[in-house]
């Protein structure tokens, strides 16, 4: 069984995000990038499936600039077998990513596609769902547990009310939530091995996918500065303030 994992290169979660002076986006010059944390969880899950003998091959895809190869290499050092890099310097929105992944799925024929539930840069949380729709496959999103059986996969999902378990027919799409697993450290021997693992390069044109943006970003702004809180003397005062000052009840 082949597993396909999509990974995105994002601004590292430790970086304090700053908006560019011209408000066209966030500052990306001179900041640290790393693999989207939810994608790390996706890679870990795929590698575990391989270690358990369930998966035979783990293929990692990343869409982005030349440096996205590094993100792929990280996944290879964690234990994935080979990489596919769709090189583009353009902004690629979730629908375009889903279309590109669909084209790769057509070439690779994986039984399972695992992606992060969202990327921590734009927080869209759309790609997995869109890919499932485009392929007409079943989807198990926000997975905190993935249990593969013969021809099906049971996915425990973190939903607002608690946990929900769905049985999906394979092939299927799974999107990972935080509690699914704890990604491993890349070991020195695996880092050395990753050097020799292949990464195929391709482009959106070669895959025949139009990745032109359907949405236009007008302006990016810092969130409003947080105001200090106020202490209230009684419940009655609190209710009064919520009603008359904040006007939320």
């Amino acid at each position: 069984m082949k597993v396909l994992v999509a990974v995105k290169r994002v601004v590292d979660y430790n970086v304090k995000i700053r908006v560019k002076a011209d408000k066209t986006g966030v500052e990306t010059a001179n900041v640290k990038f790393s693999m989207n944390p939810f994608d790390e969880i996706a890679v870990e899950q795929a590698v575990r499936l391989k270690e358990a003998g369930t998966a035979t091959e783990v293929v990692v895809v990343s869409i982005g600039p030349a440096q996205a190869q590094e993100t792929i290499r990280t996944a290879l050092a964690m234990g994935a077998d080979r990489g596919i890099h769709v090189q583009t310097d353009a902004e690629v929105q979730p629908l375009a990513v889903a279309k590109l992944l669909k084209a790769i799925v057509a070439n690779e024929n994986p039984t399972l596609v695992i992606v992060g539930k969202q990327a921590i840069d734009d927080d869209c949380s759309q790609t997995g769902q869109m890919l499932a729709a485009l392929l007409g496959w079943s989807q198990g999103t926000f997975a905190s547990k993935v249990d593969l059986k013969d021809g099906t996969v049971a996915v425990t999902r973190e939903v607002d009310g608690g946990l929900e378990t769905v049985d999906l027919k394979l092939p299927a799409i799974v999107t990972t939530d935080l509690r699914l697993n704890e990604p491993r450290y890349a070991s020195l021997p695996n880092i050395m091995k990753a050097k020799k693992k292949p990464i195929d390069a391709t482009t959106a044109e070669a895959l025949g996918v139009d990745i032109a943006s359907r949405l236009i970003t007008l302006k990016v702004e810092e969130p409003a500065k947080r105001q200090g809180g106020k202490k209230v003397g009684s419940i009655a005062e609190l209710v009064d303030k919520l009603k008359n000052e904040a006007r939320v009840i």
Binding site: S34, E70, Y185, A186, S187, L188, M192, A194
Partner: protein, 387 residues
């Protein structure tokens, strides 16, 4: 073109080490500092975890089971290790001296390989009560008698001397020749009759591992306990400590100073006095700017010296230059760190006061600042500065 970029795979390794240090090792620091001892069970578990990740004895060649890193790579990794304490680094990632590559025949199975595997701990005993900076003046002597070498003498301040499974002992074998063919290195096992650990010598810092006084009284060892060639001990020691000195003092100081600067800048941004973050005061800014300047300089110096070693060129002057600069840089940065934190910097709630104490010895051991300055000056007077 000179390429200063750190290769992608090295960056991955650095990232692994960084995460491991931050998540697994740093949390143990307060306990080690408080108890003065390492929690043994945890140490074993962490060492095994590090070994599984290939992070043990990374500086040793792959053929003997090490990580096979170049000197540049070793220094990049050591920079990350420097962000925790030496005691923890020793036990989790190993303190394995490249000098052990001089092991021959049965010595390989007995000393080299088990040390790289983490099964045996090695200490190096050069310093004596009457011979510190003047290492050539050691008195510990070995005389050949009835098929065995007989060691007599006293060593002190020997790191890990109390727990080491074996010690590499530097001894005089020919009083007339001394450094020119009269000093030899001996591999002496713990428990060899005549070899005792006299006492532990408590230190200002570096809590968590011991420094010991070792006594040799008619301690008989067989001729196959000689490391390297007889009479060539001084040369072997001086040749092989360069890379270790560069990594343990140069690179670790750079890492430790980065940790201090990071604490400093966060505090300077957050701590408010007189209605503004203290980072807005120029006196505080100067401490931060000077630290950033010196760390950057030290880091480039470390990497350049490491690269020189990897080219197979003589890097002794460069390593002396790094030894002085990096250790003194760390002293200054640690001092500023304490200052920027005020009373909290002096309190034991933060790691700064420990770092301040731990940093102090980097200007003393492995050759004092004065000795390295002397070596640098001699070389420059003789040949000019070779960059």
């Amino acid at each position: 073109m000179i390429d200063f970029a750190i290769p992608e795979l090295d960056r991955l390794l650095i990232e692994t080490v960084r995460k491991f240090i931050t998540n697994e090792v740093q949390p143990l620091e307060p306990e080690v500092e408080e108890r003065g001892e390492l929690p043994e069970a945890k140490m074993r578990a962490l060492r095994q975890q590090a070994q599984a990740l290939g992070l043990f004895a990374m500086n040793m060649p792959a053929e003997v089971g090490g990580g096979g890193l170049s000197t540049v790579e070793t220094c990049l990794v050591e920079e990350e290790l420097g962000k925790t304490s030496d005691a923890l680094i020793r036990r989790i990632f190993g303190q394995v001296y490249p000098m052990l590559m001089a092991c021959r025949d049965a010595q390989i199975e007995r000393y080299l390989l088990p040390t790289v595997r983490g099964d045996r701990i090695c200490a190096i005993a050069i310093t004596e009560p009457d011979a510190g900076s003047d290492a050539a003046a050691i008195r510990t002597a070995a005389t050949f008698d009835d098929g065995a070498w007989v060691l007599n003498g006293r060593k002190h301040f020997i790191s890990d001397g109390d727990v080491a499974d074996y010690v590499i002992v530097m001894a005089v074998t020919d009083r007339d020749k001394r450094t020119r063919g009269g000093i030899t290195l001996f591999l002496v096992d713990k428990g060899t009759p005549g070899f005792t650990v006299a006492r532990r010598q408590p230190m200002m810092g570096h809590r968590g591992y011991g420094h010991a006084e070792l006594v040799f009284e008619d301690c008989r060892v067989s001729p196959d306990c000689i490391l390297g060639e007889p009479g060539e001990g001084f040369r072997l020691m001086m040749q092989s400590v360069s890379a270790v000195r560069l990594a343990h003092i140069g690179a670790r100081s750079v890492g430790m100073a980065q940790r201090v600067l990071d604490l400093m800048r966060r505090h300077a941004n957050e701590r408010v006095q007189f209605g503004q973050p203290i980072g807005s005061f120029q006196f505080v800014q100067q401490m931060i700017a000077d630290s950033a300047i010196e760390i950057t300089a030290a880091r480039l110096m470390v990497l350049n010296a490491a690269w020189t070693i990897d080219q197979g060129q003589d890097a002794r002057d460069k390593v002396s230059i790094v030894k002085v600069f990096a250790s003194e840089m760390l002293g200054k940065v640690a001092d500023r760190g304490v200052q920027v934190f005020g009373g909290s910097g002096y309190s034991k709630d933060l790691p700064l006061e420990r770092i301040y104490r731990d940093a102090r010895v980097t200007r003393i051991y492995d050759g004092t600042s004065e000795i390295h300055r002397m070596l640098i000056a001699r070389s420059v007077l003789r040949d000019g500065l070779r960059l």
